[in-house]
C-alpha cells in the first residue's frame, strides 16, 4: 500500500523539524537580549541542538546539515568562516558515532558527555580563532561561555525531547 500524498508531505515536514529547530536556536542566540553582561557569554544553543539530534535522530540532522548550521553560525556571529562549521561537524560526527553508548543511558551521562564534548569543541574553536586572528583570545569569556552552555543544557534537552515526542514519535 502506498501512502497518499498528504501522508508523505506530513512526514516530509516532520522530518524537517530537527533542522528547523536548530536553525531557530541559532536565530534565538542572535536576538539582542539587552541584558547587561550577557552578550559576551551567551550559551551556544545551536551546539546543543546538533548534539541532541546527532544522538536521537542522526538521520534527520546529518553531517552536512550540521555543517550548514555551523556556516550560518559563523556568518551571523562574525567568527572567521569555517570555524563553527568544523566544530559542529566534529560534534555531530563524534556524537552520532557514539550514539549506541547514549541510548538508554541516564540524563546525567548525556550531560557529562556533553560537557566533555563541548570542552573539546570550545577549545578547538578557541585555537582556530586565535590562530586565524594571529593573537591569543582572552580565555576567561570563553570559559564563562562554556559554563553557561553547560547550565542551559538540561532546559534545552527537555524542550528538544518534548519536540521529538510531539512531532517525531512515529515517523
Amino acid at each position: 500500500m502506498t501512502a497518499s500524498i498528504w501522508v508523505k508531505m506530513d512526514t516530509w515536514v516532520r522530518h524537517l523539524i530537527p533542522f528547523g529547530v536548530t536553525l531557530f536556536l541559532l536565530l534565538l542566540t542572535a536576538v539582542p537580549t539587552h541584558l547587561p553582561g550577557f552578550a559576551g557569554i551567551a550559551p551556544m544553543l545551536p551546539l546543543m541542538g546538533v548534539y541532541y539530534w546527532a544522538i536521537y535522530r542522526p538521520d534527520l540532522l546529518p553531517a552536512w546539515l550540521a555543517f550548514v548550521i555551523g556556516l550560518l553560525y559563523d556568518i551571523v556571529g562574525g567568527t572567521p568562516l569555517g570555524v563553527n562549521a568544523l566544530v559542529m561537524l566534529l560534534v555531530q560526527g563524534t556524537a552520532a558515532g557514539q550514539r549506541k553508548f547514549f541510548l538508554g543511558k541516564s540524563f546525567a551521562v548525556t550531560w557529562w558527555a556533553f560537557g566533555l564534548l563541548t570542552a573539546g569543541a570550545v577549545g578547538l574553536a578557541w585555537l582556530l580563532v586565535s590562530f586565524l586572528i594571529g593573537r591569543a583570545i582572552e580565555p576567561m569569556p570563553v570559559i564563562f561561555e562554556y559554563l553557561m552552555t553547560l547550565c542551559f543544557f538540561p532546559i534545552l534537552t527537555w524542550m528538544l525531547a518534548r519536540t521529538q515526542m510531539a512531532f517525531l514519535k512515529d515517523v
Binding site: L27, A30, P32, H34, T79, A85, L90, P141
Partner: protein
C-alpha cells in the same frame, strides 16, 4: 544468500560514501578558513549575501525582544522612581551651572570663529539603523544592523550611539551590515586622552574594557580621564567621546566605554566624509607576479 551479500556490499558502499562525505566536509571547512584568511572578496560577498537573507527573520525576532526589555525597564524605573528623582534633581542643578558656562563659552567661541575666519566642519550625513542581531560570543564583539548599502551604509563608517563612538562598519550587504564594536579583538581606534592630549591606540580584546596601546610619551594617565577619538589616520573626526579610563595598573591602561552594548537598540551610522577605518585593507603584493610575466 546472494541477496544478503549484495545488501552487505551496498551497506559497505554506503558507509564508505558517508565517511567520504564527512571527510570532504572537514576539508571544505578548513579550505573556507584559509580562503577567509586570504581575504578573498568572494567570501565577504557571500557572508553579506547570507546575512542579507537572514536579516528579515532576525529583525522580526529582535522586535519582541526589544519590547520585553522595555517593559522590564519600565518596572525597574517605577521601582526606583524616588531615588532616581533625587539624583536627577541634583544632576539638574549641576547641569544648570554647566549650561551657563557653556552659553558663555559658545558666544565667546562664535566671536573667535568670526575673527579667525574659521571654516566650519561640514554637517555629517547619517543613517539610523536598528540592531537586529547580537550573537553573544566570546570570540568576537559584533552586531548585525538592519541597514545596508541601499540605505547608504559604507564599509569603514563610524557608528555612534547618541554622541558616543561605539564602533565601525566592517561588512556591508544590501540591507544589512556588521558593526564591529570597539571592544572586539580586531578593533583598533586612534584616540586621545583628553586631559593630557596624549595619543594612543585603543585595542579591543573581547572583554568589556579595551586597553590602550602605543601610548605616546610617558604621560600620567589617571583613572577617570576622558578618552576621545583623534584625527590620526583620518579614520574619525577628532573629539568624539568614547569612554573614561577605568584602571591603570602595571602600565596597562583600560578604558570603560560610555555605552555598554546591551543598551544598544538604535545606532547612527555616520558618514564623516573621511576614509574611515578600513581594517582589512592590505597593500597589493605584485612583485612576484610581474617578474613571472616578464620571463
Amino acid at each position: 544468500m546472494k541477496q544478503s551479500s549484495a545488501a552487505g556490499r551496498l551497506a559497505t558502499f554506503r558507509l564508505l560514501a558517508q565517511r567520504f562525505a564527512f571527510l570532504s566536509l572537514i576539508v571544505a571547512s578548513v579550505a573556507l578558513m584559509l580562503l577567509g584568511k586570504a581575504d578573498i572578496v568572494l567570501i565577504e560577498h557571500t557572508r553579506a549575501l547570507v546575512a542579507d537573507a537572514m536579516a528579515p527573520m532576525l529583525d522580526a525576532m529582535a522586535r519582541p525582544a526589544a519590547t520585553v526589555a522595555q517593559i522590564t525597564d519600565n518596572f525597574h524605573e517605577l521601582a526606583n522612581i524616588r531615588t532616581e528623582n533625587a539624583r536627577l534633581r541634583e544632576e539638574n542643578a549641576r547641569l544648570m551651572h554647566w549650561q551657563t558656562v557653556a552659553r558663555r563659552l559658545e558666544s565667546e567661541n562664535s566671536v573667535l570663529h568670526e575673527n579667525l575666519n574659521v571654516i566650519p566642519d561640514p554637517d555629517p550625513a547619517f543613517v539610523t539603523a536598528r540592531v537586529i542581531g547580537d550573537m553573544g560570543s566570546a570570540f568576537g564583539h559584533s552586531m548585525l544592523l538592519g541597514a545596508g548599502s541601499k540605505d547608504g551604509v559604507r564599509k569603514g563608517q563610524a557608528v555612534l550611539s547618541g554622541e558616543v563612538l561605539i564602533g565601525h562598519i566592517a561588512e556591508v550587504g544590501l540591507r544589512s551590515s556588521r558593526l564591529l564594536l570597539i571592544t572586539d579583538i580586531n578593533a583598533r581606534t586612534p584616540i586621545l586622552v583628553e586631559s593630557t592630549r596624549t595619543k594612543a591606540i585603543l585595542t579591543g580584546d573581547n572583554t568589556a574594557r579595551p586597553r590602550l596601546n602605543y601610548v605616546a610619551g610617558s604621560p600620567t594617565i589617571a583613572v577617570g580621564d576622558r578618552v576621545v577619538t583623534s584625527a590620526s589616520g583620518g579614520a574619525f573626526p577628532p573629539g568624539i567621546p568614547i569612554g573614561a579610563v577605568s584602571s591603570v595598573s602595571d602600565g596597562i591602561v583600560r578604558v570603560e566605554p560610555f555605552i555598554q552594548r546591551h543598551h544598544l537598540e538604535f545606532v547612527s551610522v555616520v558618514d564623516f566624509g573621511l576614509g574611515g577605518i578600513l581594517p582589512f585593507e592590505r597593500p597589493p603584493p605584485p612583485e612576484r607576479r610581474r617578474r613571472g610575466k616578464d620571463e
